[in-house]
Amino acid sequence: MAQKKIKFKCKHPLRRCPICCIVPPHMLENVAVSGSPEQREWAFHTLNLSAQFRGRRNTVGDITFMPQPGEKNRTIYDAGGNEQLPGKLVRSEGDPPGTDEAVNEAYDGAGATYDLFYEVFERNSIDDKGLRLNSTVHYGEKYDNAFWNGSQMVYGDGDGDLFQRFTKSIDVIGHELTHGVTQHEAGLIYFGESGAINESMSDVFGSLVKQKVKNQTADQADWVIGEGLFTSKVKGVGIRSMKAPGTAYDDEVLGKDPQPAHMKDIYTGTKDNGGVHINSGIPNHAFYLAAMDIGGYAWEKAGNIWYIALRDRLRSKANFKKAAEITIKVAGELHGEASNEQKAVQNAWQKVGVV
């Protein structure tokens, strides 16, 4: 299989590295191990790119190695409680499930996300060119987070007191992977309103991954992001609610869900990169309203409108108003001017106070 051929190690003092590589791979590997976090991310990213290039070279002359569209390519690493990325390789594409739940969940969740993008939107992975999906589990010590570092997904185990492991919720996996899609497409700047749209895109497609796996129509879905991440000690159903932003949790220790559902309550401070995880409630709710109004499976129409906006129309500095205008326009192009679908999208943005 292709991924067996793709290796990080480029063993050459004598042979030239096929893509070369201003910085030799062994040095990159060193940086990947001992550099500062940013250096490590860069080194990993570069190694990853070179591995892909080498993978492509390997395919020349033996077409069977070429990853076919629709063919997933996942690797899961284990950071073993450290913060070194990517960590130790523990599962590659096609390997059977093991005993580590986090590894299995990261593998299956990445697969379900790949499938949604491929089957519904005809997208071949994060870059639409079959990019390998790398995930690291057991990152850090009692680490209460999951993130996308620009080239891979990373999951913490949670502190066990308030948060459980972050792979537990499939929409979290869809959320992180969608950050990769956004990075390759609209490139929405991660601050203020464009950052909140970036966040919302991750919630929208994360939720659609869950809905697709559960085969739920819009009215059957719970529209909760991060269901099951909290321990039983926490008063809350999940991290965010697209159906009713601001109501996901209300807890003595964690406080209350701060998400607005309407422009009148938009957060204007600088915390959280200008409230990217706060104000995403507004576009999240607009998507929910549109999907509910259209009815049926949310990925079929509302999801497709949002996907085309993300892939082809949104620019990196887009604000909510622009996102509204674009999705309304795309709905008209796909389903006709003044169609029910376009009206649903228009009404949704109106209800959240954006247009």
């Binding site: 500062s36 976090p37 940013e38 991310e41 860069w42 209460d144 987070n145 999951a146 993130f147 996308w148 570092n149 620009g150 948060f163 972050f166 979290v172 959320h175 992180e176 950050h179 956004t182 990075q183 490139g187 991660y190 970036n198 966040e199 991750s202 991060g226 991440l229 991290i239 965010r240 964690l254 406080g255 701060p258 600088t270 915390k271 959280d272 990169n273 990217v276 995880h277 706060i278």
Partner: protein
């Protein structure tokens, strides 16, 4: 010396804030904290240290140090932590 430490962002977007005053710390820690602040060259750090790399859901830390009438606030992305600041952040995270 007084320090306020706030973590915002992350996938959950749930903020955590703590305030530490050396006056109420045990002596060994009370003497360590100013060392960490000095090692970080804290008062000469820029107010904002964003990450230049693309990504999503990283934590953001805001640290305010007040000492001898001096006050400085630094907001730094988890993905862009300068090496000199790391020991102070790690200490504050575990406090």
């Amino acid at each position: 010396m007084r320090i306020s430490f706030e973590r915002t962002g992350g996938f959950a977007g749930i903020s955590k804030i703590k305030t530490i005053d050396t006056a109420s710390l045990p002596p060994n820690e009370a003497s360590l904290l100013p060392t960490l602040v000095e090692a970080a060259d804290f008062f000469n750090l820029p107010e904002n240290i964003p990450s230049s790399a693309p990504g999503g859901d990283r934590f953001q830390y805001t640290v305010t140090v007040e000492d001898n009438g001096q006050q400085h606030t630094v907001t730094v992305s988890e993905g862009a932590l300068p090496g000199q600041l790391r020991p102070l952040i790690e200490w504050l995270k575990h406090k």
